[in-house]
Amino acid sequence: MSEHSGEVERRQQGPTAEVVRETTGMFGVQGTGDTSGYGGLTRTVTMPAAASRPYGGWFDEVVDVLAEVLGEAGVSFADAVERVVITDPRRTAEGEGPSRDAEMTLYVAREHLMAVCRALRDDQDLRFELSLGVSGVHYPDDVGRELHAVYHLTSVTHGRRLRLEVTCPDDDPHLPSTTTVYPANDWHERETWDFFGIVFEGHPALARIEMPDDWPGHPQRKDYPLGGIPVEYKGATVPPPNVRREYS
């Protein structure tokens, strides 16, 4: 177990925060029309960065056991899990234990997703036996990792929850299907394919589920327009929501 913990620590040293987007200016105004005075403002929005040891609570134990189980299966933890992120907006002081709202995300490399899922489900100290589905997120500005699939696992035995996040580039949108480990993910993967265009390799019947079979495009992607028509209300014309001014 100790050599795996070493690997875990090495893994966390790089700058590994997920870039969500870069913004310039304010109020959604661009170019010469921008008289806000914020024209030179550039901000990089990132998701919470990789956590450092100790994570607190049961998080350390799960990561250690997972590293050990993966090691026995011949998979290096450092290769399989790119980063461990603890999301805990309520924790204010450094060194304080995690709050009740703390959540752990493991960023898993797609080639090792199956090994990680199998270890998480089957090992008696992990036992994440209930999968609550897959949801996709599209980050167009996260170059090379545009499409994310997020897996929500629950351990009823131990009363724990864990999130796996797997990414794939837009020009190679392939992930392994987890239906052999978690049959519950069948429809959820179909939904993620339907809405985001992620192809789950090995899925028994990866067909569209919500949209019609011949629908062009994947509607939940950020580059897919919402659509809508202007609405007249009491003499004024209300523009459709996707062309209204954005503030963030």
């Binding site: 969500v20 907006p89 309520r90 009740r100 589905g133 599209h138 519950a184 949209m211 929501p241």
Partner: protein, 453 residues
Amino acid sequence: MTAPAHDVPHSVHSTGPAAEDYGPGVAGFEASGGDWDEIAREAIGEERIVVNMGPQHPSTHGVLRLMLEIDGETVTEARCGIGYLHTGIEKNMEYRTWTQGTTFCTRMDYLAPLFQEAAYCLGTERLLGITDDVPERAGVIRVLMMELNRVASHLVCLGTGGNEMGATTIMTLGFTAREEILRLFEAVTGLRMNHAYIRPGGVAQDVPEGFTENVRSLLPSLRKYIGMLGDLMLANPIFKSRLQGVGVLNLSGAFALGVTGPVLRSAGHPYDVRKAFPYSGYEDYDFDVPTDTAADCYARVVLRIEECYQSLKIVEQCLARLDDTVGAPVMVADKKIAWPAQLAVGSDGQGNSLDHIRKIMGTSMEALIHHFKLVTEGFGVPAGQAWQTVEHPRGELGVHVVSDGGTRPYRAHFRDPSFNNLQAVSVMCEGGQVADVVVAVASLDPVLGGVDR
């Protein structure tokens, strides 16, 4: 029957002989009377009948399409087709503020609107890190509304389930009882459904005066209605023979398929999010989680009736707490997150109170600017993601909210229990009779508004 002559010019009648519809090379069969089995055996070697049930069918709880391959009366394969009610609510939420999001997600599962609102708001509060700042009274009101909603939802499930088997009285009784609860909702939120009552940070407004007495006076009649439903159903020999041993889904099957809620508990596992991962202060309430081991449709009916009684038990505890906290706030103290409007009933129905307008217009420029900014933009939420689940009447409802640091959700995904549970239809129906499909689907209690979102 004689074969049509192919050299005859096309008839002026719109309905020509059937054989003309087929080009050369398509096998045709002619039969004049006889047994269909023999004809089919002669023609295609085997008989394979696929029946489409729905999407427009009263017993499919909305627009669920079931594709059944049947052999006589036996279902050999059953598959679901969904998506007929997909309205893009999740996509729409990405173009509205965090506060406006509740107006959208409440419309997903229209029989249990308050659960979507609560899960979404709890997730947002998680992202904001204000879970502990939500006032106690707001949490009590949330629990009260959710539990009343659970009873209302179960009553529809039991009522329509009975109606699908031809027992109209069960349906009218269920809907009559539900009506009492909807009247309470109307008194609190102004609407019978699509409430948008639970908001990030608390609830939109306090319960009206005299509300707790109202609920208290209603509880005995609700109990009576549920008791009557139980009397009508549970000992009825026809009802029992239709439901017992039908739609069986055992424990390992339920876990593998991610099936939660009453269906999982009917297989013997007491998994309930209210106990396993408490939220809104559920750990402070005294209630039981009923389970069964029969894992069939009958057990699920019994469990739903039991759960109604347990919910009413929680409601009573909520009422006592509401009486103890009269006048306490129902929204977080942080005015940046609490909706800045101070609503009052005006001449045109409802609007900002005159005092509030006088204050922001007349005395405080800063307050006016903040009011304007918060109403038009909404509040910002730190970048990150959160996963929040609640115990929905149909199982575990999960919300995955992602923020990019802006004033709108970057992504809001709802893991609806009906969506997931419908995956069990094939396991529960195959090998049974066609009539059992109706019963099995009713025991899952899918609501297609939630399935398709």
